[in-house]
Subunit: 130 residues, 3 copies
């Protein structure tokens, strides 16, 4: 298992970590298999989506904020219920196939760490399987 | 593959199954690898989220009910369309990394079975990979 | 890694690909393990849900359209932001356990490719792990 660290810059912040995942595969000399990218936080998630137009992750942040407003008469006293829900909507892990030492992603796909209660320093865990 | 059984208590019910997943790892003598936790139902899902404050899963249930109301003019004659949608929003499986025989989860993370059409007796399947 | 191709028929279209996933397992002579089904697109996703009543996927399409309307004052100039968001809500991959050469799915479960910006010709990648 390997760990990478990211620093989010605002409450909601999608951070492209694709190159870090490729570096992990390179570092362990992985040829073919599967990488699980896991977020050990409960107010952040992970997803795969478009990297070509920065308006796509920006729109995604906006739509998720509309779907799950920050203020909603929630019971959780920390006040960040919306972040917990959005974390589960995106999910805590993604799988990426590796072939010939390269991540197999579609033309426009990147792996995004999804901050929903930043800014914070966050960890991401990487694990290979065969 | 191993199977565990849970009993949900109400229509929507998040049940912490983390200790059962750890017991599965213990039982097969797993040292390092990945466990896939899979829900073989279509009106229940699975997610990883906070276990410290019971208001968090309670709020999540409330928010999901707001996002996908039980009554919505749906076509499905069984009347539980909302449960099907929420099952897919949470997802049918999660992955948990195992290291030195212990589940690798963040400080506040637990694995939750998510009932959306209970109360029912439900099954969860566990599968290790290396 | 193996690739299958599907042709969606409308903007939103849930396509049952379970038999293709079973054929992949048969083709590689897989006995026990896990199959990762991965969608290399950013406006389509994948989920597991009910196959008995076609009203279930039809309702799911309707509910997702209500949650994330096609027109929403989005910034992304291609105009398909809603499809990107719905792709991430469903997710880019599912895991299916294989036992005794058969996919382990619940009685009512099928694997659905989820088109959100069709009609298009789409690819799905399959990868086994042990």
């Amino acid at each position: 298992m390997n760990e990478i660290t990211v620093q989010s810059k605002s409450r909601t912040d999608f951070i492209d970590i694709t190159s870090s995942v490729q570096q992990f595969a390179d570092g362990i000399g992985m040829k073919d298999g599967l990488i699980t990218v896991f977020v050990p936080h409960t107010t952040a998630g992970i997803t795969i989506n478009e990297n070509a137009d920065p308006d796509v992750p920006a729109d995604m942040e906006t739509v998720l904020d509309r779907m799950v407003p920050w203020s909603g008469g929630y019971r959780h006293s920390e006040g960040n219920t919306a972040a917990h829900v959005k974390a589960s909507l995106m999910g805590s892990s993604v799988q990426v196939i590796v072939k010939n030492s390269k991540l197999c992603l579609g033309t426009w796909q990147s792996v995004y760490f999804c901050e929903f209660d930043g800014p914070r320093t966050r960890k991401i865990w990487l694990k290979e399987s065969v």
